[in-house]
């Protein structure tokens, strides 16, 4: 019963913190920028986590994010679309692409699907470099129009936070719903689910559509926010880092993914000058967490509490 209150309180505290943050950070607008980046990457990690519910290890989340960004840029620059509509379009295009790919791939088992998504991501990345005329090649795209009504950095921050909250709410509702229970079952015992008539394909498609749509929207947001795109943001390394954030923060938990992302983005900022040590440190952290703390950061309070309870009650 106590733990129930603990979750509610910490959630409210976190939300309050995010709301008040711009006031705290009034003197340092750069901090707002960092949090916006945290929000963007957190939604990507949430998408990955959602796919994990269906035993899908995706390597193309960043690619779909990039697809969203480029879609937004092209729709606004080349087709003159209203930026808000383009934002929706940025979500729709990757979803359609993913649906097309799923035509043959949705039945593949986990590891194979993972490689499939990896190869797609690499192919997409290459295409961005090579297709100079349409996509700007290595130089990328510049001069992307902003979203009307969003002018100051604080307003960008609130928009990012709003999207984050919205996406989080959608995923949270999903996990607490009938579909969520089905997903939990499917993840525990797939065969058993099939034997009762549950369609694994349907589960996978639901998660894929959601994850890719969110990635696309955040991609569009990112394009509007930064105003310029370059394929160098979409290297495979960035993709793998998402998994680092996920596992260290805690898979299966929205709060965990947020914590993990925030932690590493802050570390990256702090370690800026010591950048050369980053990969080794990251690598060591990952190896330690995977082998010793598989539940991630969010599982630590639980472990601590249960250890404490065991100590407290000797009889």
């Amino acid at each position: 019963m106590e733990r129930f209150g603990y979750k509610e309180i910490s959630f409210s505290a976190v939300v309050a913190f995010f709301l008040i943050f711009p006031v705290i950070a009034a003197k340092e607008p750069y901090l707002l920028h960092i949090l916006i980046i945290v929000a963007v990457y957190t939604t990507l990690v949430w998408g990955l986590d959602l796919l994990l519910d269906c035993a899908l290890i995706s390597c193309s989340q960043i690619a779909f994010w990039g697809m969203g960004s480029y879609t937004f840029a092209l729709l606004t620059l080349k087709c003159g679309w209203n930026p808000w509509l383009a934002l929706i379009g940025a979500g729709v295009v990757p979803t359609i692409m993913s649906a097309l790919l799923s035509y043959s791939s949705v039945n593949l088992k986990t590891m194979y699907w993972c490689l499939f998504s990896l190869v797609f991501a690499v192919a997409f990345h290459e295409m961005l470099f090579v297709w100079r005329t349409f996509l700007g090649g290595a130089e990328g795209i510049r001069g992307i129009p902003k979203l009307p009504l969003v002018t100051s950095r604080t307003e960008w921050y609130y928009l990012a936070f709003f999207l984050l909250f919205l996406i989080g709410a959608v995923i949270h509702q999903l996990r607490g719903s009938r579909i969520g229970l089905i997903l939990r079952g499917v993840r525990i015992n797939e065969e058993l689910a099939r034997s009762a008539g549950i369609s694994i394909i349907r589960c996978r498609l639901v998660c894929l559509v959601l994850a890719n749509f969110f990635a696309g929207i955040m991609g569009g947001f990112f394009a509007a926010y930064t105003g310029a795109l370059s394929p160098f943001n979409l290297e495979l390394d960035a993709m793998f880092f998402l998994y680092v954030y996920l596992i260290v923060g805690g898979k299966g938990s929205l709060a965990g993914c947020l914590a993990g992302t925030a932690l590493f983005i802050f570390i990256r900022e702090l370690l800026g000058p010591l950048g050369i040590y980053m990969p080794v440190i990251y690598g060591t952290i990952v190896i330690i967490f995977v082998t010793l703390i598989p539940g991630g950061l969010v599982s630590l309070p639980q472990r601590f509490l249960s250890h404490f309870e065991r100590v407290k009650a000797p009889t």
Partner: protein, 254 residues
């Protein structure tokens, strides 16, 4: 009416025939046992019928509909539900949640409704879940994780899960394996009760000869993937080919 018909069912794994040219039919309202020494291909046979494996050759008709190449979940929705011998529950979920999940394959809603529904708020499913838990004596254990159940209760849960999908035909894979005499008698009684309540026919794979002899209407014997005998329990017990197949197993009939 033949509710299930199997014609020339064959499955090759590489060069090895696990099931070879098996013909079988299941009548409405009957209990059919599939027996045979270990490695006879009984589980593969179940997998083929229920859609978990694709046959190399042959045809499977369920209520006169060809289900040979359908995926497992579609076959289950049509009313043919199977149980498993091992790994039978959602271990981390509660007993109640296990039974609830049993409904979700057949009592489907559209995506939006399923997205909005809080599982515990669905009146029909909650009531039915309670009813099934009652039948199997699991109501007290409603909130326990399924993985912590004793073996007999776990098997009951598995059958309850299958029942939740409102099957017309149940394929039970060793339903009383590892149970005590009283537990298995209770289980068989419950299964017979099911037959009075909507399940039409039952096919079991079973090693326990006492159960087979006592409760089956008919018995089919498989050996090395082929059907070697079929008939009423008493005929089978006296069949020399059957005895020969079991030579060395040493079974005792009632």
């Amino acid at each position: 009416m033949k509710i299930l018909e199997v014609k020339g069912l064959t499955k090759y794994f590489g060069g090895l025939a696990a099931v070879k040219n098996v013909d079988l039919s299941l009548e409405e309202g009957e209990v059919l046992s599939v027996v045979g020494p270990n490695g006879a291909g009984k589980t593969t046979f179940f997998n083929l019928i229920s859609g978990f494996e694709r046959p190399t050759r042959g045809q499977i008709l369920f209520r006169n509909e060809d289900i040979t190449n359908l995926p497992a979940h579609e076959i289950a929705r049509k009313g043919l539900i199977r149980t498993f011998q091992a790994n039978l529950t959602y271990g981390d979920l509660t007993v109640g949640e296990n039974i609830m999940l049993g409904h979700y394959g057949t009592h489907r809603l559209n995506l939006i409704k399923e997205y909005l529904e809080r599982p515990k708020r669905n009146r029909f499913i909650m009531d039915n879940t309670r009813r099934i838990l009652n039948i199997f004596g699991l109501e007290q254990r409603n909130a326990e994780p399924a993985g912590s159940l004793p073996h007999g209760s776990m098997r009951s849960l598995e059958v309850g899960y299958a029942i939740a999908g409102e099957p017309k035909v149940l394929l039970l894979d060793e339903p009383v394996c590892g149970m005590s005499f009283s537990e298995s008698t209770k289980m068989i009684e419950t299964i017979r009760e099911m037959m009075r309540q909507g399940v039409s026919s039952i096919m079991l794979v079973e090693h326990n000869m006492r159960t087979v002899m006592k409760y089956s209407d008919r018995v089919v014997v498989l050996s090395y993937g082929e059907k070697i005998a079929e008939g009423k329990p008493a005929e089978i017990a006296a069949n020399p080919r059957v005895i020969e197949a079991y030579l060395g197993e040493g079974y005792v009939t009632s």
